[in-house]
Amino acid sequence: MRVALFLTCVNDTLYPDTGRAVVKLLTRLGVDVDFPMAQTCCGQAHYNTGYRHQTEPLARHFSDVFGSDEYDAIVTPSGSCGAMVRELYPRMGERARAEGRGDGLATTLAPVIPKTYELTEFLVDILGVTDVGAYYPHTVTYHPTCHGLRSLGLGDRPTRLLQAVKGLELRELPGAAECCGFGGTFAMKNSDVSSAMGTDKVRNAESTGADTLCAADNSCLMHIGGTMTRLRSGVRPVHIAEILASTEEEPLS
């Protein structure tokens, strides 16, 4: 199976370790991974801030880069960027049509929409694995990020994957389904409320006694992690890909 890694601009720029972990994990599971070098950004921040028209060229670019028949699937380690493609690209096509601009955009975006999977979804639904042979001897609590939880409906896929990790003890996060307060530009535009939400999320994570807070979206972890270090919390934010890539031979350092 040949897969295009849609890493996302945030991971590419700030979290290359997550990208390397996805490559390592998928390669270990027998998947042929490619990273199309022309990829940039899905346009989520533009769209959600109200710049739909400026998002359209980014979506078209995404489709140009990832639409090739060469790939069986497009895999992304981000719930919100995955939801952008799967949930909001169709909506952008519909809106363009409603504005009398024809089917052009919808047709251009159509090939990438059903092929795009969030990482844990790809592992469980497409590869059919929950035990990926990982090793991570730590106590972990899992925060289901909003777009993964409510837009993509990831359900218990991430926790099933984590439960199968050797050495890992999973602790339930109180108020897990509640937003961490990142919300893209919300974090800046409403920084007081955003920070209050982030602080509560960190406090809940601390209450579990876990040493690691795991999530499937680094933009949320950037906010939660930035709050944690500011609060001298000591809980470590880790992307789920890095836990699943970790093995006894090559543990996550």
Binding site: L7, C9, N11, D12, T13, L14, Y15, P16, G19, R20, V23, T27, F35, M37, T40, C41, G43, A45, H46, Y47, N48, T49, G50, Y51, R52, H53, Q54, L58, R95, C146, H147, R150, S151, A177, E178, C179, G181, F182, G183, G184, F186, A187, M188, K189, N190, S191, D192, V193, S194, S195, M197, G198, T199, G225, G226, T227, T229, R230, E249, E250
Partner: protein, 495 residues
Amino acid sequence: MSGTFVGMPAFPEAAREAVRNTTLRANLRHATHTIRDKRARAVAELDDWASLREAGKQIKDHTLRNLEHYLLQLEESVTAAGGTVHWAGDADEANRIVTDLVKATGESEVVKVKSMATQEIGLNEALEAEGIHAYETDLAELIVQLGKDRPSHILVPAIHRNRGEIRDIFEKEMGSWGRPAPEGLTDTPAELAEAARLHLREKFLRAKVGISGANFMVAETGTLVVVESEGNGRMCLTLPETLISVVGIEKIVPTWRDLEVFLQTLPRSSTAERMNPYTSTWTGTAREDGPSTFHLVLLDNGRTDTLADEVGRQALRCIRCSACLNVCPVYERAGGHAYGSVYPGPIGAILSPQLRGTQSEIDASLPYASSLCGACYEVCPVAIDIPEVLVHLRERVVQGGEVTRHGTKVTLRPAKGHAAERAAMRAAGWAFGRPAALRTGQRLASGTRRIHPRTLPGPGRAWSATRDLPKVPAEPFRDWWRRTNGGQTEKGGKK
């Protein structure tokens, strides 16, 4: 009541104050979490919740598509049942109609059952200006009125107050409005409720004019429906000689049968009850029973303009259950007042900027008062996709475009205050259209990472005042990929 929402600051400023108010935070946290959990249990009891939700959505959509037909049918039914129908295009017109109707009775006092529509139009203030005193009779509304406060929740307008605060308000204020609070009043719920009961009973028995809203209006029979928990509504609806109901035009349903859906979804969503304690229905006037005069004031006030918007119109499905408020993490921390409207929370953030337009500072900021977490959409009993409408309204704010105001299509200019953001989005869009430009930017960031500050100046403080910045890595992923040929030339385990 002195508290109005006129001249409210933008949401972030109002929320900043609320976030630092520890009493408010504790009150809201306790109240919203309690009702949130109860609602989840009440909804989980029904196997057909998803079908009820879909049915509610479809009934509302069908009615809104044929609004003119059903409104005319309603007018005919109400008239035939002995009532009088008035049409009010906006708040001023509605206030004038109601004020004139009260004046014609010769009365200078009215009792009110809690009504969002009359708060929306500022009816109490309009009546006061004509020397007519309006007494709120809903317990929470009474607390708000006595405290010269503003409502902060759709269903429990005094949610921001705790028992001790309520006791103090009763003790201090009841005497100047009517019967004083009993001596030695404590903050136990039973004593507080009894104090309110005694205070209000006097008003119910004296009032000749009642003013209400309605949860539903049934077109086929001209019947109005109020659902409530305290019984004050039934007092207001039955004891006075004249009843004036002010109702938004979107509250209509075609038939009694349609109520079957909403009388299940509304109580479970709002108070987490299987059935609300009091459901009052009335059809025009009845001989020797209840009010002998009935007026229905149908209120538009921006609703048909909202209806003209293909994406935004779904907000008109709202049945004012407030489930979206109770589940909203932003509402829980910012409180209802920050939304600068009688409609707070997620639904308010999409309703107010549509009913009032996006021109004021507060209305232009409301579409951004959300992290788009989607919890509101998940609990909405009529499936309003609030995040979708929020993003749609953000677009209206930053890009402008065609909207309907007062029945006429107008083209809005982009709102002020977004110039820097617009430029940043354009620059990012340009770079993201060119992978080489993105790579140059990434390399620049990586190359200078040792001199990056831990906190940012200027607008960047909005991030770094409370959160550390992520450390920029030595190289972006794409450089690693190219350098190691996708990791193939890298030694195992090395990062």
